[in-house]
Symmetry: C2
Subunit: 196 residues, 2 copies
DNA sequence: AGAAAGAGTGGTCGATCACTCACACCTATC
DNA sequence: GATAGGTGTGAGTGATCGACCACTCTTTCT
């Protein structure tokens, strides 16, 4: 896989060049925010390029096509979520599975509070899974995520399952804007759910 | 609202005319299947028209625009799901909330087994909620659905919440094709989940 | 200094998009 | 049997889509 790390940055003239790998990293970060709004099908490559501050034609030099770009965004988001969950596990005092899961859930709640785009990308990724390559990326992402949660927490199957069910509930609630609605049905769906 | 009921059907010549209301009903039924594949953004009005066996221009006589068509599909799917849940409630023997919820869950599992398109439309509707009119339709749909489940079962808030969390888990699992994958992560996510 | 390689863009391609309009056909009513 | 209104379509509209190509400019290598 690629590194996306900044290895070099020229700066002699007013124009500023960066390596393609570094550019890819920047593009992925902004592409997640752009794709978050209207997803794989509803977002044009021109919008992504504009969001990243590069030309649309250069986007096609960094990524072979739109689908590969979206898959790279999925994997970037997936990696970022696993990193954040990992940090919360490192901080939690108890090694009790239920406590670890609670810490992870709390960290996820914080994460989606200031990075709403991440969970929206996940939602759109689920929907774009009718495209074979994207489905494969999405399945791989959930495979890694489930295995990570299971091994990091040591929790039983049904606790891990409930963890994800709760997560999906949060994802749906946020993406349909339920947090901004105060009504009986939102109070029911969000009862006891941490959100910041 | 409209009736979508067949009120008249001319048949004198080889060509067969129907009323616009009846046509709308047929179109909605097939449109759900077409939208299920690639959602609101990824599905063209030409595809919907072709699926319904009418011209694309006539689709625009039946519905003012693409967004109104998609909203109508959402409401049609929503109504259909509530009807099916209602039938299962009528059949269940016990009036115990937990038993009613279990019957509803079982009925939903059967429903999505032979109408996969329904839950995929729901998934896509969640994602298309960045469009204000669609978000309003989606929120209204969940409002009715939650209130219906609550009143029909008489269950407590957290049981209703778990019912929907489980439902969302099923929706995600089906739409990413997890049922076709036999692996530890799918066994964990689907443990104890009824699917036919 | 000069060549090779990489970063980055403007312009454009054919295809497809949502949407419109003029018009043909059918059928009920007077 | 004319007429009015609903059913339905073919042929388009301008705009935008993903993708490609020729090209410039910068940096590095020799």
């Amino acid at each position: 896989m690629c590194e996306w790390s900044i290895t070099h940055m020229g700066t002699t003239n007013g124009r500023r060049l960066s390596t393609a790998d570094a550019r890819r990293g920047e593009v992925l970060a902004t592409a997640a925010k752009v794709f978050a709004a209207r997803g794989y099908y509803g977002t044009s490559t021109t919008e992504v390029a504009k969001g990243a501050g590069i030309s649309q034609s250069y986007l096609y030099r960094l990524f072979p096509d739109k689908q590969a770009l979206f898959v790279a965004v999925i994997e970037d988001v997936s990696r970022l979520i696993r990193e954040r969950l990992g940090e919360s596990v490192a901080k939690v005092g108890s090694a009790e599975p239920v406590d670890v899961l609670r810490a992870m859930g709390d960290e996820y709640a914080h994460l989606i509070a200031d990075r709403e785009d991440l969970l929206k990308v996940l939602m759109h990724a689920n929907c774009a899974a009718s495209e074979p390559e994207i489905r494969q990326a999405v399945q791989g992402m959930y495979a890694r995520l489930v295995e990570y949660v299971r091994s990091a927490s040591g929790a039983r199957d049904d606790d891990v399952q409930e963890f994800f069910a709760r997560g999906f509930l949060c994802n749906v609630a946020v993406s349909i804007g339920a947090l901004e609605v105060d009504a009986p049905w939102t109070r029911t769906l969000l009862a006891g759910i941490r959100h910041y």
